[in-house]
């Protein structure tokens, strides 16, 4: 096979490179083009669609195109955030894949001058009864914990689904939140001809070579074990030093610009800095500190060794910068210079070994239109696990024990959720994570969500639901959305059905953000997520950051006390489409009702104001497993039972099954004083108290003991324990 095809470039792309260069590229140049023209770096199958997303808003400080998006939280401070995938590395080697996923997203955030203050993650694996899934889960959780715990950034929340379509191709999406003085933030554009280009942090080795093109931009398949050397190896201690070093350099105003080295290493960071600044950059690979002396120039340029940052520095300040690096015991080297050539030139000991126009390298990749086609029917499997005729009580217990619904304590207990002294709401104590910001006198809330099963049912409406779920989670803690970021995990865009899923999902994301007035300040796209059995569920993971004025005024998701009334609020009309119960019954099919966005937004505002005013004792949004699960979760967390009659939902046209277990956006379970709840417009459906969960819906009723419910909901702990031996170094 010819060299360019082996590197993932098509014949026509190669011809275009020759045309733009005016000659055949040499080895160094071809390696660099293949990475920057990969799907992972060039977004060539998604860029045209992403333009639809609204990205402007009065609170936006940094939007798409920077290392991370950022929004204004007042008093001269900003909150930065970004989500990124590390799916294929994690599927090949879960511990390092997930660890470096966290490392990479942290760098994106401190690259703009924000101190990382929290990590969240969104994970997808195959069903928990698969040995492979438990192995991947265990490795990914250890990896996320290893990196985040060691570097002192709390992991404050996240979400996990276990579904067959992720069996071969798991998803590991990591999110980082940063906090900065707005005036201290920095952009990635190189500037100032003659300024020095300084590489800081770890030395450069042969790890992760070709990660972006070989791993991230192709489907997984046979022989993936052989790709293990393309997975990078993380060193959180090195990152911790580089982080503190960079923040000190920025606080002292010593850097012109800063960029992290992620996928495609020096190639993409130098290319993107030059492109954003409309300048050229010369890099002398002979000056790059190496782990292995005999590395070829192309290897140095494409290495994805972790924990490295690239800065542009005025020549007079290079010594001071290097002294601060030395103080933090981190390497630094002046490896290049900003030029006015508009070219990226690679030198080795004075000899030019590569010379490419920045425009061709960074922005020259052709953008493709998709050829979407809707599937005629449900393309994924349907496996019945819940026997027909199972009664309502057993059904509720089965839903509470479903790994996607059950408590994730086993996971989050392995993460430091408190370092930094900002965590007001720890995992599973409220619908969204809440972080106090004493510097600006307020707090932020964060939620991350993306139920791929629903998106598979109908990509447009499923994506709208994911965004609404985040908005509802924020409302439950009294927060108002400031901005949204996303990570779009889809299958092979060159195939018609994944193309349709991607196209519809982005349209849905654009529409709901437009209607809610929430700007999309950044994003990441991960395509080619397929295994031998086909594509994953289309999984747009959306993460929303909101603001609340007073961190002391948030509501827990659990009931507060015996005797409180339980209210149902919002335009909740549950159906079984795409629900957990439909999955367990083996009844999944295409189709998902269109959410009523404006009505949901109105309900969110009502709940938000009520929480801020202290009018409710608890607030929980109705999500997976429907109203029955939402009520059970609020009871289990409180250790107090409840009694509710769901007749009101029957009057909205729901069957008893739909009323109990149906899902859909727009529903909130509130508890508190009856009069307060009624004043909010909530329907009073029951009362907190007792040691059982008693629900009635028409001719269906159920009673389960709180102990049994708790046992079912806590059952993940025992089932998740991997059979694999833990690694000795964790």
């Amino acid at each position: 096979m010819s060299a360019h095809r082996e590197l993932g470039l098509t014949d026509s792309e190669y011809d275009l490179i020759v045309e733009k260069m005016g000659r055949e590229p040499n080895t160094v140049e071809l390696a660099m083009f293949s990475l920057l023209w990969s799907e992972h770096c060039a977004y060539k199958h998604s860029k045209k669609l992403l333009g639809k997303l609204p990205s402007d808003g009065p609170r936006v400080v940094m939007g798409p195109g920077e290392n991370a998006g950022a929004v204004d939280v007042g008093s001269g401070y900003a909150v930065a955030f970004k989500v990124e995938s590390h799916n294929h590395p994690s599927a090949v080697e879960p511990f390092q894949g997930a660890a470096t996923g966290v490392g990479g997203i942290l760098r994106d955030v401190f690259a703009i001058g924000a101190r990382p203050i929290a990590v969240l993650d969104s994970l997808r694996f195959g069903e928990l009864d698969s040995v492979r899934s438990r192995h991947l889960l265990d490795g990914a959780v250890r990896g996320i914990g290893h990196y985040g715990n060691s570097i002192g950034v709390p992991n404050v929340g996240g979400e996990i689904y276990f579904e067959e379509p992720y069996e071969h191709n798991c998803l590991v999406n990591a999110m980082c939140i940063g906090f900065a003085k707005t005036e201290d933030m920095v952009r990635a554009a190189a500037a100032g001809v003659g300024n020095a280009v300084v590489l800081m942090g770890a030395t450069t080795g042969r790890d992760g070579i070709g990660g972006a093109s070989v791993l991230a931009s192709a489907e997984l398949g046979e022989g993936d074990d052989a790709k293990r050397p393309t997975v990078q190896v993380g060193d959180p201690f090195e990152e911790s030093k580089v982080l503190e070093c960079c923040l000190e350099l920025l606080a002292k105003g010593l850097l012109v610009s800063l960029q992290d080295l992620g996928a495609a290493g020096l190639t993409s960071s130098a290319g993107e800095m030059a492109s954003a600044g409309e300048v050229g950059i010369d890099i002398d690979v002979g000056k790059v500190p190496l782990r292995e002396a005999d590395m070829e120039p192309f290897e140095i340029m494409v290495s994805e060794s972790q924990e490295r940052m690239l800065a542009v520095v005025e020549p007079s300040r290079v010594e001071e910068v290097r002294a601060i690096c030395a103080k933090w015991q981190t390497e630094s080297a002046e490896i290049g210079v900003v030029t006015d050539s508009g070219h990226i030139r690679i030198l080795k000991d004075g000899e030019v070994v590569g010379d490419m126009p920045v425009e061709a390298l960074v922005d020259g990749c052709p953008l493709y239109d998709l050829a979407p086609a809707a599937p005629a029917a449900w393309i994924y499997g349907n496996k019945q696990t819940l026997a027909a005729g199972t009664d309502s009580a057993e059904t509720l217990l089965a839903l509470l024990a479903a790994p996607s619904i059950a408590s994730k304590k086993w996971i989050f207990q392995q993460y430091d959720s408190i370092v930094g002294s900002r965590t007001v709401r720890r995992p599973e104590s409220a619908d969204a994570a809440v972080l106090q910001l004493p510097e600006s006198g307020n707090a932020i809330a964060v939620s991350i969500d993306g139920n791929g099963r629903k998106v598979a049912c109908e990509p447009f409406n499923g994506t709208v639901e994911a965004v609404l779920e985040c908005a509802q989670n924020l409302a439950c803690v009294g927060a108002e959305p400031l901005g949204l970021t996303n990570c779009l995990n889809f299958g092979n865009p060159e195939k018609p059905v994944p193309a349709w899923q991607l196209d519809r999902a982005i349209s849905g994301l654009a529409a709901v953000c437009e209607e809610l007035g929430v700007p999309v300040v950044g994003g990441n796209v991960s395509l080619y997520n397929e295994g031998p059995d086909g594509p994953i569920y289309p999984t747009p993971v959306v993460a929303m950051v909101g603001e609340l004025p007073d961190p002391a005024r948030t509501a827990p998701s659990s009931f507060a006390k015996e005797g409180d009334a339980i209210g149902l609020l919002g335009p909740f009309t549950p159906t079984l489409h795409g629900s957990e119960i439909a999955k367990q019954r083996g009844e999944l099919e295409l189709g998902l009702p269109e959410p009523k966005v404006a009505a949901v937004a109105e309900a969110c505002a009502t709940v938000r104001d009520a929480v801020r005013a202290g009018k409710v004792a608890s607030a929980h949004d109705i999500s997976d497993g429907g109203l029955a699960c939402a009520l059970a979760e609020s009871s289990i967390g409180a250790g107090i039972g409840c009694r509710a009659d769901l007749q009101d939902l029957r009057e909205r046209g729901c069957t008893p099954d739909e009323a109990l277990f149906g899902e859909g956006p727009g529903g909130f379970v509130l508890s508190g004083e009856r009069a307060e709840l009624e004043a909010l417009g909530a329907l009073i459906i029951g009362e907190v108290g007792g040691s059982t969960i008693e629900l009635a819906a028409g001719d269906r009723s159920l009673i389960i003991g709180l102990t049994d419910a708790t046992e079912a909901w806590r059952s993940l702990d025992a089932r998740a324990e991997s059979d694999a031996e833990p690694p000795a170094d964790a």
């Binding site: 002192g152 959180p236 201690f237 392995q414 430091d416 370092v419 002294s421 720890r426």
Partner: protein, 210 residues
């Protein structure tokens, strides 16, 4: 009272410790690991984190830092020293406290709110978060520690999540001025983020300040 909080490469909880010292009514400043000068400092906090990446063994490298030499002198002179989590590990490695910390029984990192019992039997709600927090010492040493009143904190029943011998969560030296514990009192000073019982751990050492 003026607290000095050590900062090593890889420290994680030093800013939290600074804040906690201020909450309990003191002043606090960071002491860089290469700094030998503790003048003007009444008490020292060796904070949590992963000093030097915890490579080799938790706390094994940090104990050789210049700042730790100064801390040893400060401790020998009777000044208060509080080691939290990684700081406890560092103090054990430095020989300023007895015993050692091993990998948790379940071989997993764990982060959890726990109940501790102090000398007086008061229950303190304080979070812990560590992968290597299982206190260990030989039987005869444990007998001696108990006889000398050197067990400063124990996990309450059902709260010993790491498998520490005799439920020991924290110990002190013979003079009582050096205390180390695995749970994080600096993360228990603000009612909004959990509990305020951690303040008592700081306050218990104030009497040793010159």
């Amino acid at each position: 009272m003026i607290w000095g909080v050590l900062q090593f490469p890889g420290s994680c909880d030093e800013r939290d410790a600074l804040h906690a010292c201020e909450v309990v009514g003191g002043e606090a400043r960071l002491i860089w690991h290469e700094d030998r000068d503790l003048s003007g400092i009444d008490g020292v906090v060796v904070p949590g984190g992963f000093s030097y990446g915890d490579y080799l063994r938790a706390g094994a490298i940090a104990r050789f830092s210049p700042a730790m030499e100064a801390v040893a002198e400060h401790a020998a002179a009777g000044g208060p020293v509080l080691g939290i989590c990684n700081g406890f590990q560092v103090l054990c490695e430095a020989g300023l406290l007895p015993g050692a910390l091993l990998r948790n029984q379940e071989l997993r990192f764990i982060c959890k709110q726990t109940d501790l019992l102090d000398d007086r039997g008061d229950v303190l709600s304080i979070p812990l978060k560590h992968g290597e927090g299982r206190f260990y010492a030989p039987e005869e040493m444990l007998d001696r520690l108990e006889a000398n009143g050197q067990v400063a904190y124990r996990y309450a029943d059902d709260h010993n999540v790491n498998g520490s011998v005799r439920n020991i969560a924290g110990v002190r030296n013979e003079a009582g001025n050096v205390v180390g514990l695995m749970p994080h009192p600096e993360h228990a000073v603000d009612p909004l983020t959990g509990s305020i019982d951690g303040r008592k751990v700081f306050e218990a050492l104030e009497g040793f300040a010159a």
